[in-house]
């Protein structure tokens, strides 16, 4: 029987959650025995090759590409997990939600704005190439865009949390994480 497949992605995240996944250390060998990786930065597969058992989502949706990728994950994965606070709440990127989009751009790119960083931009251009995905009006948590099956909180969730959750899901056991793995103080 073919091994079940796992896909992962980082949307508006910092890759910290992926780093945490790598923190499972030598257990990664066990994981490779258990599953194949499909679309994921881990193996650099860009598009889905088939149906996946589990999709891990890091980061929320900040732009249209994030939405497209997330919807693609929903189409291809049986179980979708929001991993970490950005996927669950929007996290740090969502701090811009209180500021109008135009002001965000000005703050980032305009040299008129003395509060902005010292970028050399004499024409006050805001990057606008069709290749660049357009930003959404605000950063959305993943479950507002597609249905999410599980949420693993943490910034990032510890490696043990990720490991226990993955193993439980892949072996059809209930995800009953001990208190130590989901407490964060």
């Amino acid at each position: 029987m073919a091994k079940p497949k796992v896909a992962t992605t980082s949307l508006a995240g910092c890759f910290g959650c992926h780093m945490s996944l790598l923190d499972i250390d030598d257990r990664i060998l066990k994981l490779v025995e258990l599953v194949d990786f499909d679309k994921s930065p881990v193996d650099d597969i860009k598009e889905f090759t088939g149906r996946c058992a589990v999709g891990l989502i890091e980061g929320g949706c900040a732009n249209e590409e994030n939405v497209r990728v997330l919807q693609d994950f929903r189409r291809h994965c049986d179980i979708l997990i929001s991993v970490g606070d950005c996927a669950i709440n929007g996290g740090i990127p969502a701090m811009r939600n209180a500021v109008p989009l135009k002001e965000c751009f000005q703050e980032a790119y305009s040299t008129d704005n003395r509060l902005g960083p010292a970028v050399y931009n004499p024409d006050n251009q805001i990057p606008n190439d069709p290749e660049i995905p357009l930003l959404l009006d605000k950063v959305y948590p993943c479950h507002e865009v597609v249905k999410i099956d599980y949420h693993l909180p943490g910034c990032p969730p510890p490696a043990d949390t990720l490991w226990e959750a993955l193993v439980a899901l892949l072996s059809d056991k209930p995800v009953a994480l001990p208190y130590e793995l989901i407490k964060y103080d």
Binding site: Q71, R74, N128, L134, Y140, H143
Partner: protein
Amino acid sequence: MSETLESAIRDISQACGNDRSRMMDIVEAVQAKYGCVSGEAMDLIAKQVSTHRVEVESVVSFYAFLSEQPKGKVVIRLCDDIIDEMKGSESVAEAFKQELGIDFGETTPDGVITLEKTPCIGMCDQAPAALINNEIITYLSSDLAREIVRKLKKNPDPKKLVGRLGDGNNASHLVHSMVHNNIRLAGEVIFSEMAPGAGLKNALALNPQEVIRDVKTARLRGRGGAGFPTGMKWDFTRQATGDKKYVLCNADEGEPGTFKDRVILTEKSDLMFEGMAIAGYAIGADTGIVYLRGEYAYLRPLLEDVLARRRNDNLLGNDVMGKKGFNFDIRIQMGAGAYICGEETALISSCEGLRGDPKNRPPFPAQKGYLGCPTVVNNVETFCKVARILEHGPGWFAKMGSEGSSGTKLLSISGDCAKPGVYEVPFGIKVREVLDLCDAEDTAAVQVGGPSGQMIGMNQFGDSICYEHLATGGSVMVFNSTRDVLTIARKFMEFFVEESCGFCTPCRVGNVLLKEKLDDIIEGKGKSGDLDYLESLGATIKAASRCGLGQTSPNPILTTIKNFRSVYEAKIAAGKVEEGFQPTFDIHAALQTAEGIAGRKSVHA
């Protein structure tokens, strides 16, 4: 200026005996004089009645007709309920906006005219209608709206706008209003001829217990909608300990689609006052208060006139009708545009000069009501019925109506029917018979009991209107097959969101959540679990809310789901998105801002 403000407020407060519990009268007088109750005025009022400014501010900020910011000399309040909307209030609204050059909630730059929307002003039988200061303008059209603005610009006196006067007392110089009574079916309890004092005379010949016994024998139940047995309520209040007791009359007729009390107040206020005096005698009270909704301020001079006449005829005052030791007088307390004040404990709060917050029950008003004293609160119509019961005897009254609901009921019928107006019908009448009476055709849905009642479909038109089946405080709205029940339910939910007093969370937050979900469904973003969500959230709000508002506010949604489920399901099915996607997420809306900034459309979405 400050000097005069100070002296004016001193005079106003002194006229109310510097009594903190008369706060409503004080701030209403200041509002009327200055068009606002400014911070400075609030400080002065607080000083004058020895309280804190926050007490004054909490009242001013609560009521729709009071404001801290100055309003125009003329305030146009366009009635914004579903019936007015069906009769074309939107084009009227547009005409007002265009002609004045301002939006709703704004004042013209010269500070003369303010434009606002207000929930039902009790004129659904002559919609669309507007309240311009205290004047009621009925049967509005966009042309009439433009004409009104032009006239007001020339002469900002709303009294000059009153067109052809209405019938009955509406035409009297005391009312001078274009409102029509629209009494379509005059029954024998309310609308038959009366001789002032007839009921009261019989009551005074009995002892108080016997009066209550008669009310009980007549099986009279409260006409406000809840249907609590009136005799029992009076008995509790009579037995409650307290030297001072009060009789309150609830004339805060705010349930959208209800206007029967308006007609009683115009034509038969004698009956109401008489019923109050009888209640005063029965429970041992010497003071009655009529809480009159601010929208009906135009009726106040007439009511004061009737009161003066009754005092003159010794039907009020000391030793009423020669009965030694029975003193009873009535004053009128004006409301200021808050639906919640129709709830009896909120009404008491308002009479006490506080925000219209409902109180915890128990203690019930019968034990601890107005100013902590045992209090009877009854609807306008209930008092009228009492006067008749004492006049003609309980047997006469109990013979009418149905098993559990004796007597007659006034219905305020509006909407898609040829003869909107007030009908006095015996309890137990079938919905279908009511629809025939008012010449309704092609009826698809009927809202019985206003937004807090229920929306019924054709299969329930055989049910009877009475406390056991379809209870109503009087509102009957008729909708034909061209109307969308979901849009109607949304309108009602908007009303409850606006009118929630905000005290308890289930009502303050829950109603917003209900409305948002309903919005989603109407916009085609509904998903399969939504109806379950609405039903369970609605049940929670009903169970956990503090007063009658929250306990009934989910009804527009719950009863339409129950009786028009297929309409909801069709909407949800039509808007289906790909499996697993959230129908509430709209990528096009989310990208709109960025597309505007980039000056191009998205290449992906």
